[in-house]
């Protein structure tokens, strides 16, 4: 089993920006992404019982090499951190046939 070290970038933020960030991530070099609906509470976002109209939250993950991870995090941090509710972090992962996720 050959594993290749890459970075896992996770971004959690308000739904309205998450599809845009996903597309921007692809432009910055990611080969794919994984997106899911979550319920979140943070300094700028409150969990609301009635989630129909209230602010909704999504989680977005990219498996990418370090330089793409940095590009994505820098972009997100500049464009979205000021005005939108979101959090972003990086973790180390070992990826199966990982080379194919490097463009």
């Amino acid at each position: 089993m050959h594993l290749y070290p890459l970075k896992l970038v996770t971004i959690v933020g308000e739904t309205v920006i998450m599809e845009d960030i996903a597309d921007e991530g692809l432009k910055l070099g990611a080969t794919g992404y994984t997106l899911s609906e979550v319920i979140g509470e943070g300094s700028r976002s409150a969990r609301t019982v009635a989630s129909t109209i209230g602010a909704k939250t999504m989680k977005l993950e990219f498996v990418v090499p370090m330089h793409v991870a940095e590009a994505i995090l820098t972009h997100v941090s500049h464009e979205y951190f000021e005005h939108y509710a979101c959090i972003a972090w990086l973790a180390d992962v070992q990826v199966v046939r990982g080379q194919q996720y490097i463009k």
Binding site: V16, T52, G54
Partner: protein
């Protein structure tokens, strides 16, 4: 704007005696029915931390059904109207509605920015909500006038469709334009470019959004099928969508229950938004409602039609506007706009506004 307030004043001076008691009665008839009572149940439930949870998908499904219904029935009625009168009865109300759709975001913006002293982004953001309309307020107003035996002109759903977009678009362009000028000094060209592309994206999304696509789409479908199908084949579709039918009324009950749950949560934010916005959320609809009734009457609408037009002009969007504003004017605080639209203006219109607009229309001479 100040002009229209002045124009509205006399109305208040003459509200006396008989009229007041008639209003109380129509209030009772309006309020003690399942639709507003379900809204109240929702609020009560949230305030006491009760356990009602409407699945998001049920809420979305009902919204889809209501929009399709409004469109389909609208297209059906429009076909009848068209077969009888051509466009002669429709073009004036349509123009009046378009005019109101362009006017209301501006009046809202001016009041918020220059009387309320709010930031450009917040003013434009809230103006986008009040420039558009709430389909559910339409549905409630429509059943109100039907219950008073003054059904609105058949083409009112068409007017709802016309009113959906322009207000949001105008407010967004205004807000983006003014605030980009402000930021011009510090913003890099690249960031300005990002902003602009988000604006175009948001505008396009407003114009091709779910509300418009479903209402306008089903309007066309209702129109065409009325023209080409025979009555018997048309019947089951009409029964399914018709706005006096059990499905529409029942769906409205569940929808308003959920609206009450959401509004109840937002009530806590009333303190955060402050007294100016609370007053705005009540007085602005009265002004817009008066304008709606006035121009509706001028364009030849009947009593029910004036009332409903007033209600939809007075109503504020809380479905199409929020994401568009969030994307285009991120500095705008969404708590302000959503609380005003949902926890102040919406319940005000449902409970008190609609009967008031009815009296306004009557006072203006609509029959």
């Amino acid at each position: 704007m100040t002009l229209s307030i002045v124009a509205a004043l006399p109305l208040w001076a003459v509200v006396t005696g008989e009229q007041l008691s008639r209003m109380l009665e129509s209030l009772e008839r309006n309020l003690l029915t399942p639709i507003p009572l379900c809204f109240v149940l929702g609020i009560v439930c949230t305030r006491i931390h009760g356990g009602i949870k409407i699945p998001k998908e049920l809420y979305l499904s009902i919204a889809i059904f209501l929009l399709m219904s409004i469109g389909f029935v609208g297209g059906h009625e429009l076909a009848h109207e068209y077969q009888m009168h051509g466009v002669s009865t429709i073009w004036k109300p349509a123009l009046a509605t378009l005019f109101l759709g362009c006017l209301t975001p501006l009046t809202s913006f001016v009041v918020l920015r220059y009387i309320g002293g709010m930031s450009i982004a917040d003013s434009a953001g809230i103006a986008a909500h009040y420039g558009s309309t709430s389909a559910v307020t339409y549905a409630v107003a429509n059943s109100f006038v039907e219950q008073t035996n003054h059904p609105a002109n058949s083409f009112l759903p068409t007017l709802v469709t016309i009113l959906e977009c322009p207000g949001i678009a105008i407010a967004l362009v205004l807000g983006a334009g003014l605030s980009s000028r402000e930021r011009a000094a510090k913003a890099t060209p690249e960031r300005r470019h990002v902003r602009e592309s988000k604006l175009y994206e948001a505008l396009y999304e407003v114009i091709t959004g779910q509300s418009i696509m479903l209402m306008a789409g089903l309007l066309v479908i209702g129109f065409i099928s009325t023209m080409f199908m025979d009555d018997q084949a048309f019947q089951p579709f009409y029964e399914f969508f018709q706005s006096k039918g059990m499905l529409f009324r029942g769906a409205l009950c569940i929808f308003l229950l959920e609206m009450g749950l959401v509004a109840g949560e937002r009530l806590g934010d009333l303190v955060k938004v402050g007294p100016f916005l609370v007053a705005f959320g009540i007085l602005m609809p009265l002004v817009h409602g008066f304008l709606g009734a006035y121009f509706g009457h001028a364009a030849g609408l009947n009593l029910g039609g004036c009332t409903v037009l007033a209600a939809i002009v007075a109503s504020a969007s809380y479905i199409a506007a929020p994401p568009a504003v969030r994307l285009t004017l991120p500095e705008a605080n969404p708590t302000y706009s959503i609380t005003a639209a949902l926890a102040i203006t919406f319940p005000f219109n449902i409970a008190l506004g609609i009967p008031i607009y009815y009296e306004m229309a009557k006072w203006l001479g609509a029959t």
